[in-house]
Symmetry: C2
Subunit: 207 residues, 2 copies
Amino acid sequence: MVTQAQGAGGGLPLEGMPAWQRARRQRIVDAALAALQRQEYEQIQIRDVAQVADVALGTLYRYFSSKEHLYAAVLQEWAALGRAGTTRSRRRSAEARVRARMHGVIKAFERQPQFYKVHMLLQSSSDPNVKALRAEFAESAQAMLAEDFAVLGADRADDAATMLWSIINTMLSQAIYHGGSMAEVYRIADRFIDLLAPELAEAALAP
Amino acid sequence: MVTQAQGAGGGLPLEGMPAWQRARRQRIVDAALAALQRQEYEQIQIRDVAQVADVALGTLYRYFSSKEHLYAAVLQEWAALGRAGTTRSRRRSAEARVRARMHGVIKAFERQPQFYKVHMLLQSSSDPNVKALRAEFAESAQAMLAEDFAVLGADRADDAATMLWSIINTMLSQAIYHGGSMAEVYRIADRFIDLLAPELAEAALAP
């Protein structure tokens, strides 16, 4: 593994960072994200990312304590981009919106399974910076799904999103690592929405 | 990683194995399972397992191509033991049976999280012997859950078991690796059964 920790304190905190530093950090994340769109994680050299971002390697490691830390930030950015890219149409039923959003999430991983693989790889990282960002990524994926369940009320929406994300997560593992089909991921996720459909319809009709 | 592959052909096929070889293989699996009940996977030395099983190290590697292969067989054995240990009482509703079985599965992983960790570790193994056994383990866990959904009909029972196992799997990861609570695993799995409860009750009443 190409882990290069800068030491216990590595990784500048994003909060309170001046604008010019944020911009530089963003440039690094953008370059790393673009690299993962072209090639597998294992093949990415951090020095190449630094070069594309036009920063010294040592500077990159002031922002990110390890390759894992950098890619935890990349995953978060990728999720934010996906979220910003979804339409917020209100023209359909709650059920239709839930399905559309869910299909969008699965399709994103289907198109770029390397992002899912990084998500899985980072699972075993012991870098505290990674753990924190990875948790935010999972929360963010769930929060996105929960938005469309909102009609069920906050608690039930959170639970439904947790279940749906759990199902997608395991099924994606099956498809990406163990020869399962992507069609099966969509099918089982849709079956789950079937179970919620009566409740979604009822809640939408309530005053 | 303490992988010691014996070469491409390692691992005698279980089918067609004479009884004395089956008994020896079983002794190896039993010794390896007992070792995992005492310590973490990483700390287990294959030579110690061979010694307890009273076979030469080279003999062990004729049965199992790698430590991963051996422990894929151990997981399967562990699942079979768990399955044999569950009661087959018919005294309650389908819903109650589903919940009892599901709680049993979660509790087994709660008591011995090292078995879950091995399940996760083996995910990234490229040994074909491991892939085959690991798939059987997941299928066996799902089949166990599907038994109690049988009242829904075969297809729906399979889908329900797939969903439930997916939820348990992701939630266990969260609890075991990322500081999530075990109580949350039970709670979310129970919430999922809540969604199926009307269907289970209806199916049970059907002629």
